[in-house]
């Protein structure tokens, strides 16, 4: 028994499954939350009956329905790529969880290139989307997939530049170290440091991350009213659910990175009060969920940008601001020594 538990491979697999324990119930909860948030913003109620109190079991019911659906694969599509695409998208977003610290004693993999790894591996999502759009053998899906690829690749640049400012201030890429250097009360959080430059960094990162996860106002790849459903037009049943799961996992991943970099990660906002390994999980998850709520809020308020306006925003607005930010923070750090 002892030797099985000390088996390093088994331990590695168990550690890798821990984020899954969070992601699956979180996805069920987030879909329900989205429906309730959108309903209340639109002056209606949303799910109210399934399961009794405010329809909390609605997502579970939807999952069961999707599991029972007929599995349709278009006959002219590339069958294996068509099947593989949703899993690649999910793998891309799931792999990012490896380097994000949930609490002081748990981080999937405490590598020294933490944030660099997170940014790099979440680009796998583009590959999955492109494969899904092309393998569907449908002009609309292809258009959606190409738009999505262009969008994600363009917005990675301002997002990485914003992350770079925090790395400059801390001096390390390891997310656990970055979170630990924000300990203390909430004014130690990086979003309030070197004001206003790190705050601008946070804004740039947040806007760019909305584009990374294909949420409105950047949801052109799924633009329902234009392209029917973009790159996941031909998907139905569980495969469609997989795309959805990947999208929500991705949303939480970028939200978690924002929280770790700028809002103190798992640190308590009250210094040593209410802190500890278990409290760390609580603070981390609540801050992450708050940003999920903000992402949903924006989705139901704003209209959608057109493709060229989206590119314009990334290359001509966010990038110059991000560059200027790096220069100013560099100067600040130089003169404060």
């Amino acid at each position: 028994m002892q030797s099985i538990l000390e088996n390093p491979y088994l331990i590695a697999v168990l550690v890798a499954l821990v984020p899954l324990v969070w992601i699956l119930p979180y996805a069920l909860f987030a879909i329900w939350l989205e429906r309730k948030v959108s309903a209340h913003m639109q002056d209606r109620l949303g799910p109210m009956r399934t399961g009794g109190w405010h329809g909390w079991a609605q997502t579970i019911a939807d999952m069961i329905k999707l599991l029972l659906k007929e599995d349709i694969i278009p006959s002219k599509s590339e069958k294996w790529l068509f099947i593989l695409a949703p899993y690649i998208v999910f793998a891309g977003s799931y792999a990012a969880y490896a380097a994000i610290p949930f609490t002081s004693v748990y981080i999937g993999s405490n590598i020294s290139v933490g944030v660099f790894y997170v940014v790099a591996v979440s680009s796998l999502v583009v590959v999955g989307i492109l494969i899904g759009g092309w393998a569907s053998n449908n002009k609309w899906s292809l258009l959606g997939a190409m738009r999505s690829a262009a969008q994600i690749v363009s917005y990675e640049i301002p997002s990485t530049l914003a992350i770079l400012t925090v790395v400059m201030v801390v001096g390390t890429l390891n997310l656990q170290e970055i979170v630990k250097s924000q300990e203390g009360w909430f004014w130690n959080w990086f979003v309030f440091q070197k004001f206003p430059f790190l705050f601008i960094s946070f804004l740039i990162y947040f806007i760019a991350s909305l584009a990374e996860v294909n949420r409105t106002p950047f949801d052109i790849p799924e633009a329902e009213s234009e392209l029917v459903a973009g790159y996941h037009t031909e998907y139905s049943g569980m495969r469609f659910a997989m795309f959805f799961l990947a999208e929500y996992a991705n949303m939480f991943a970028v939200s978690a990175v924002a929280v770790s970099l700028f809002f103190g990660g798992w640190e308590s906002p009250f210094g040593t009060a209410l802190s500890g390994p278990a409290w760390g999980v609580f603070w981390f998850l609540s801050k992450g969920l708050f940003f999920i709520f903000v992402q949903m809020w924006l989705r139901w308020t704003l209209p959608r940008l057109r493709v060229d306006q989206l590119m314009y925003t990334s290359w001509k607005v966010l990038m110059p601001f991000a560059f200027a930010n790096i220069v100013f923070i560099g100067l600040w750090m130089m003169f404060s020594h």
């Binding site: 959108s38 913003m41 639109q42 002056d43 209606r44 002009k139 609309w140 258009l143 409105t216 106002p217 949801d219 052109i220 633009a223 329902e224 009213s225 234009e226 029917v228 989705r299 139901w300 308020t301 704003l302 209209p303 959608r304 940008l305 057109r306 493709v307 060229d308 306006q309």
Partner: protein
């Protein structure tokens, strides 16, 4: 340097598509993302209204068919047809009938514009204004249900009068509606009309010059957004519209250019406010009388014809009625505004992008029931 030759792709939008406002097929020839040509294919909702009208034995029986042409503004369709037959017969309706017709037509104008605005926001990607507009439209539909029992297709305005008089409590409920609706228009403006992203998507998109518009027979808010101050309620009044005091909103240059999609949208928002003024004035001065006194027992118009047009929310709706002296119509031709407005689509969307095409189509505000009849 060798010239780049890119291939043109033919893309089919519809007939089933979330943004084509009904069963419309747009054959789009694309060069990358730029539209080279758009060919609309209509007729998916053709129900041979004109042939049915000839088969009716009574002019009043055509009214339910007319309802179903532009199904979101049934009152205005009924009104135009009833006016045409009344002109042929040469009868005058009591003043109360005219005032009530004005109230119903203006309420229906607000309902139709709410649908246009809500679905336009939906096309652009803003999901919430759609539900706000439908919430307000429910109040209007409650008023209609109170009066004639139907929510969408009323069969209310008959040749020579109305089918029911206003019920008790209608005037109070209408006034309450006006009171709740005025601040909602301001809320809509804050949420959607002046939103930077919305303006980026719709301003300077699909510009329609005024002379091209008149040549294509474009009428209604689409024409007014191109700067032409032309409204049949003021320029060629019918049903006692000359007694009411209201303004005609016209496209302006303050956001975008005259004739672009943002102006087409904004003219509709402003028209809703003006309609509220008209309804208030009509409610204040409502005369008494019998709404059924002028309805003829048997409608036998003299041999002849009449063309009468009215300002429906989409534009100029005209009915050309030919009578051969018998009780059933010889020929009824409906000139629908959406038919003419849609014919201008290829002209204004050349050179736009696919996303712009959706924005332009939404701003033209067509209803396929009217285009195809």
């Amino acid at each position: 340097m060798a010239e780049f030759r890119t291939e043109e792709m033919v893309l089919n939008m519809g007939p089933q598509h979330p943004s084509t406002h009904g069963v419309l097929r747009l054959e789009v020839v694309l060069d990358g993302e730029i539209v080279v040509n758009v060919v609309p294919h209509i007729g998916y909702l053709h129900r041979c209204f004109e042939k049915h009208a000839e088969a009716m034995t009574n002019y009043q029986q055509v009214i339910p068919y007319v309802d179903r042409m532009d199904y979101v503004t049934s009152m205005n369709n009924d009104l135009a047809y009833a006016l045409a037959v009344e002109k042929l017969l040469g009868i005058q309706v009591p003043e109360r009938v005219s005032y009530i017709r004005v109230i119903m037509a203006e309420l229906n104008r607000i309902a139709s514009h709410l649908i246009a605005i809500g679905t336009y926001g939906l096309d652009i990607g803003a999901f919430t204004p759609f539900l706000f507009c439908f919430r307000d439209r429910e109040l209007i539909l409650d008023l209609f249900e109170m009066t004639c029992g139907a929510r969408l297709l009323y069969n209310y305005i008959w040749v020579g009068g109305l089918s029911h008089d206003l019920p008790h409590g209608f005037v109070e409920k209408a006034r309450a509606f006006i009171k709740t609706f005025r601040p909602n228009i301001k809320e809509l403006n804050d949420l959607l009309s002046y939103n930077k992203i919305f303006i980026d998507r719709t301003a300077n998109v699909g510009v329609l010059p005024a002379d091209v518009a008149i040549n294509y027979g474009v009428t209604g808010p689409m024409l007014r957004a191109s700067g032409v101050r032309w409204d049949l309620r003021k320029n060629d009044p019918y049903s006692l519209y000359e007694r009411f005091d209201f303004e005609i909103p016209v496209g302006t240059n303050d956001i975008g250019v005259v004739g672009d999609s943002w102006n087409r949208y904004m003219v509709r928002v402003r028209e809703m406010e003006q309609s509220l003024n008209i309804i208030e004035q009509a409610l204040d001065n409502l005369p008494s009388g019998d709404v059924k006194s002028a309805i003829p027992k048997r409608i036998r118009p003299p041999v002849g014809e009449a063309y009468v047009r009215s300002e429906s929310p989409k534009g100029e709706l005209g009915f050309y009625v030919i009578s051969d002296g018998s009780g059933s119509p010889f020929r009824v031709k409906a000139r629908s505004p959406s038919f003419c407005n849609l014919s201008a689509l290829p002209e204004i969307s050349r050179g736009a992008m696919v996303a712009d095409l959706v924005a332009i189509l939404g701003s033209i505000d067509i209803v396929l029931g009217e285009v195809d009849r």
